[in-house]
Amino acid sequence: MITMALYENSWLILFAPLLSFAVIIFGTRVGDMLSRPRVEASTPHEPHHAVEAHDSHGEDHGGHGEDDDDDPKVPSLSAWAKISAYVSILIMAVACIYSWVLLISSMVPSSPLPTEGITVFSYTWLNVSPLSYTIAFHVDRLAIAMLVVVTTISLLVQFYSQGYMENSAGYARFYSYLSLFAFSMLVIVFAQNFLVMFVGWELVGLSSYLLIGFWINKRSKPEEQRPSPAEANLQAFIMNRIGDVGFILGIMILFVNTGTFEFSGIEQHITQYHTSPALLGVAMILIFCGAVGKSAQLPLHTWLPSAMEGPTPVSALIHAATMVAAGVYMVARTFPLFADASPVAFQVVAWIGALTAFFAATIALVQSDFKRVLAFSTISQLGYMFVGLGVAGSEYGVGPGMFHLFTHAFFKALLFLGAGSVLHGLHHAMHKEVQDMRLMGGLASKMPITAATWLIAVLAISGFPFFSGFYSKEEIIGLALEHHDIVIYLLTLVTAGLTAFYMLRAFIQAFGGKGGKFMGLWGGPYRGTGEVHESPWTMTIPLILLSIPAIFAGYWFGFYSYVNVTAEHVLNLNVGALLADPLTWLGVVVSLAGLGVAWGIYGRVELAKIHAVVESNAFLRTLHRILYNRYYVDTLYNWIAVYVVLGIANLAQAFDQYIVDGIVNGVARIITSAGSDVRHVETGRVQSYMIGFFGGVAVLAIVAIVLITTVGK
């Protein structure tokens, strides 16, 4: 029997990762730090000795010594560090199981969970009637669906990280950050009002900041156009903040008009007082700015490719599957408000999404960095989700967008974790970090599990029929046409083809190549050095597990009505109609064409030859350069930051120093200099004083006489 208590205690899921964060930060990580031998810096050794001693052992370290700033390693993990990971994984496993229980129980028709959800935990900051600033958490079916995604992927990523982060000096720290991230993300999921949403929003920004910058001392690689993590996380945080300003302004407009932050309260107020749709539209577009920042949409997308400087599991967890989806989730959460607003709001969402999807896909076509391809594919897929939300209308509700989020989370996590597996293998083979696909090739025969699961994910993201991506993506493309947004339809359709092309291109560059089996799809010559081996089981198990939902997640056909947050009923995904629609198959053909072209080119032609062709043609060369440099958007932003913003800042500084402080010091100087001039009157000569004295008396006497003689009469 399903009772309410099951749902009422769901805040336990929220606080579980916070608990593991606290345990690691205040417990096991402290133990880990204390158990480590003291570093040289704090011991009063003579510097020369230390250096010499280090040099003589340098070869043993093989680049993994204390000095390796890029990715500091320890010879072996302490028990404390391992306990950190176990604690984190165990707690996350419990939360994950609880989430699944919630999901399954709430799918039962007799479930006591009301459609509008229940508030599970709340306390008030400030209550000035009628305003109240309240921290309140709330769970409904939309939240549960997201909960499952977040906890499942978090769990798998944490499990996987045991292998990927082996012997990392910051092992415990890494797990604490992962837990903090899970908590932050869950705050967003559980948010009942905009205040809590904003809290989670910023906390996710913090965790992302910490995780991107995990390798604090890693250097930038200008030759690969890769920033250092320290630059990347700063950029990510600030980009997000730019969006957040819009977000908070939108919240404020809603707040001053309705006097509440609660989603349901605002909705109630709007329907009751008939707030002007135009005003609401402005507010919702501003709120959407926050989503643009967090979900890396145009024009705030540049941080996401830079964020790839974080460890790969992080990229999988937050820069592919969950955090960037927060923007989508937020729009879904506030869907009723968008629906009440002027239709322009939805159009903005759909257009930004469509443009971003296309824009990012074109960039992904030419990137040579393994992770960057995935980064741009993420941006592109997030664009699809926004298109889904923007064109669904009240007929379908949040379903299409959220469904793509749901399926995408699994196959994109799979892609990233697979990429991580490849990078891990190459790192062991070449003893340095390699992300350039030109140094890979033919890895399928060396890492068959990784390659196979990756291929599944490629097919899923390409919308290959009957994989999960097929159901979520084709539906969005179809809806765009149904809404007569022909341009959006074409953009998404073309993007589907581009997606298929660049994903298979990446697959073949990494795992296949000319000379491999199946026309270069599987195996082939390896362009790097060293011996590559399949990753340990801690890493392959999550891959295998993720490949299951990558195929089957699309078969949850009741999803649309399950996650529905509007009061009205919505249509479900009609598979029969979808499969019967010729336009669906047009989309499939486009995707297959993309796959085919990629296979045809990269499976049969050597990479160097392709490069030569591109370089020989002026048009292709220019196009390649523009795309490779990501339309120079980063360059433009850099220029703005350095010249415009810093220019104004320097101007303000000069104004402050020379004008404001100048006036103050100027007044002081005038007074002092006046004093020092006047004092020269004091000559020290008695006789000159005497002249002044008697002269003064004479003047006074004359004045007195004049006054007496004139006034008296």
Partner: protein, 116 residues
């Protein structure tokens, strides 16, 4: 007939002479002498005023003398000034001598340690 104006003119002339000496002389002793002359010029004026005040003011009590205070005010002032002048001369001369010992000069133009 000797009138008040004679006294006043004499006092004014003496005062001017003294002032001239005090301002123009470089020798500190001469300056002091000028000051003494100015003081004595004032004394003459005081005494003059005192005397003619008595002559010109008819008695309120019928026999010449009105009130001893009124009668002698100017002269008492003069005596005060003489006393102060004596003290001043003593102190000033002592200072001049001290300065002469220290700086080997009594030129007031060079004694300007108090400047600025």
């Amino acid at each position: 007939m000797l009138t008040l104006n004679h006294f006043l003119i004499l006092g004014a002339v003496l005062f001017c002479i003294g002032l001239y000496g005090a301002i123009t002389k470089h020798n500190a002793i001469a300056v002091l002498m000028g000051i003494e002359i100015m003081l004595n010029a004032v004394n003459i004026t005081m005494v003059g005023f005192s005397f003619f005040n008595h002559v010109n003011a008819p008695s309120q009590f019928g026999f010449g003398v009105t009130n001893l205070g009124t009668l002698l005010t100017g002269q008492i002032f003069a005596i005060f000034i003489i006393t102060v002048a004596a003290a001043e001369a003593a102190v000033a001369l002592a200072m001049v001598i001290a300065i002469y010992r220290k700086r080997d000069t009594v030129d007031v133009g060079e004694i300007d340690m108090m400047k600025w």
